[in-house]
Symmetry: C2
Subunit: 161 residues, 2 copies
């Protein structure tokens, strides 16, 4: 692994701006989705573990280059949701997504996690997202037809640990 | 429809006890699940529409005989979750579940709803729940294997409106 990457797990107030910048830089998310990404950081800052949002921040040169946000799914034994995984556009294609995922999986496994779920849209424009999950070792398990809107399925990916 | 049944849509503080009594009476839910049922009423009482929990209470002889709790699913166009549908044990087999579901569907449709989802476990002991949804016109759409625990799938039911 790149020795210049360090991990951090506790969000700090500056992460709100960092997460916003990273998520915006991807060019992939709409304004409402970007707000949600920032709100999850704010919730964790305000409520701590009660928020049930956990983070892995990957830093390089003192700046956040990518992050994951994940958490246990209530009412399950060992199922976790991967809410966000995003890498700064300028740091793409350096394997940072894989490194972040491996780190996140290690923590989830140590916490008794068995499965990590990621959900996305079945629309054409989300093909890169679906490929990204598959490269990270997720399998497409199933889908709910027309879930998001007519013609817009919800696709479930899972990674068994 | 039974002319003695009236519907009410705004929870009142007394509904916390009524919902607890109904959910307990079914003999079907564990203490943690019963607390969640009551918490959704409390959330709606405290936060109103911001809670995104909506209710239909069916009353007979001045008492709540059954209820549904439902709400729109964030990030979707017209998908709703049916969080709870329960009928007092002493009022079973009188078609109250069907009456509650029809009333709930009418409201959801008027609010632009297209689909109502219900989720349950694939375990043997939940066979009555799955039959109940099927009798109410839901179709089993798919499942996530081992979602709740090893050997305990999450099953998705949907009713297209």
């Amino acid at each position: 692994m790149d020795p210049d990457i360090t991990f951090r797990y506790e969000p700090v107030p500056e992460d709100c701006a960092a997460v916003r910048a990273i998520v915006e830089s991807t060019g992939f998310f709409n304004p409402a989705e970007i707000e949600i990404a920032v709100e999850l950081v704010e919730d964790c800052l305000e409520f701590g573990e009660a928020s049930e949002y956990y983070f892995v921040f990957a830093e390089r040169d003192g700046a956040v280059a990518g992050y994951t946000c994940y958490g246990p799914i209530d009412g399950t034994e060992g199922s976790f949701d991967l809410y966000w995984i995003a890498v700064d556009h300028g740091r793409r294609s350096q394997g940072l997504g894989r490194v972040l995922m491996r780190e996140t999986e290690g923590i989830v496994r140590a916490a008794g996690g068995r499965r990590i779920y990621a959900e996305t849209s079945g629309r054409e424009q989300y093909e890169p997202t679906r490929c990204f999950y598959e490269r990270l070792g997720f399998s497409r398990e199933t889908q709910l037809r027309d879930f998001y809107a007519p013609g817009d399925d919800k696709v479930f990916y899972v990674k068994a640990l």
